[in-house]
């Protein structure tokens, strides 16, 4: 059972914009931080909120390129998350039309 966001802040909308711009691709932590231009703790606080609301799903990188490196965690908007994020962005940031940022983000497989 998901619930709506308690507080809608600029960083919250930035993170949603990044996910929408990725066009359904999975994004790892650094990609979200880089694309949203927000600090790591801010982004992870929002990811925790989104996860609690059931707007994002996360999975671990099963086949890391280098096994000696720590594994990445990929995040993706759920079906409900996409709908709600689009509604929120249309209401709060109607002037911005997000383009596809996927190549720059280095997102994982769809």
């Amino acid at each position: 059972m998901s619930q709506g966001p308690v507080r809608i802040t600029a960083p919250f909308l930035d993170v949603l914009e990044v996910f929408i711009a990725a066009g359904g691709a999975e994004l790892h932590g650094w990609a979200i931080i880089k694309a949203s231009h927000r600090g790591g703790p801010t982004v992870y606080k929002i990811l925790e909120r989104l996860d609690g609301m059931g707007w994002v799903s996360a999975r671990w990188d099963d086949e890391p390129a280098d096994p000696n490196k720590p594994r990445r965690r990929y995040y993706k908007l759920t079906g409900e998350g996409v709908t709600q994020a689009q509604l929120l962005l249309a209401r709060h940031r109607p002037q911005r039309v997000p383009g596809s940022l996927r190549p720059a983000l280095g997102g994982g497989p769809l």
Binding site: H28, G29, W30, A31, I33, G39, G40, P41, T42, Y44, K45, K69, P70, R71, R72, R73
Partner: protein, 164 residues
């Protein structure tokens, strides 16, 4: 000539130090990020791996360190908020002072008065023995002061405050 060689040495040492720091900073960044993740999630090892991966993905050596420090600051702030919340909850559950219990301030007052009294008696005996009026007067004054500190309650107890 000595100043020239001193300058050369300083520049070499500074360069070596900066180089070493740049090489150490990714390792340091990894340690900071892992510790910050533990602090953030109160011991969740999954987040530790994830934040270490974020630091790995971040380009540059010093940038890694700056990003890790930012994670550290965020985690410290979150941990502090969590600690304050717990402390407030504890304080609201526990009564401020039980009736009849000795408060720490009262205990400290008695201890200070006792130490002052010992010094005062010593000074008084010494003053009388040496026939020194000033030392004896000092001892007497200190004795009066120690009795005052031991007997008079300067700060009212909470239950006294609520009655008034």
């Amino acid at each position: 000539m000595t100043a020239f060689w001193f300058g050369v040495l300083v520049s070499i040492a500074t360069g070596a130090l900066v180089n070493e720091f740049c090489d150490v900073s990714p390792w340091l960044a990894d340690k900071i990020a892992r510790r910050a993740a533990r602090l953030w999630s109160a011991g969740d090892s999954a987040l530790e791996v994830e934040w270490a991966a974020v630091i790995q993905d971040c380009p540059g050596k010093l940038t890694k360190l700056f990003i890790a420090l930012r994670f550290g600051a965020g985690a410290a702030s979150k941990a502090q908020r969590r600690w304050l919340k717990r402390a407030r909850a504890r304080a609201s559950r526990k009564p401020i002072s039980r009736p009849g219990a000795t408060r720490p301030i009262a205990l400290a007052r008695k201890l200070v008065a006792a130490v002052m009294a010992i010094i005062a008696v010593f000074a008084l005996v010494l003053g009388i023995g040496m026939a020194s009026f000033s030392v004896a007067l000092f001892g007497l004054t200190l004795l009066v002061l120690s009795v005052t500190v031991g007997v008079v309650r300067f700060v009212p107890r909470p239950q006294d405050r609520s009655h008034s």
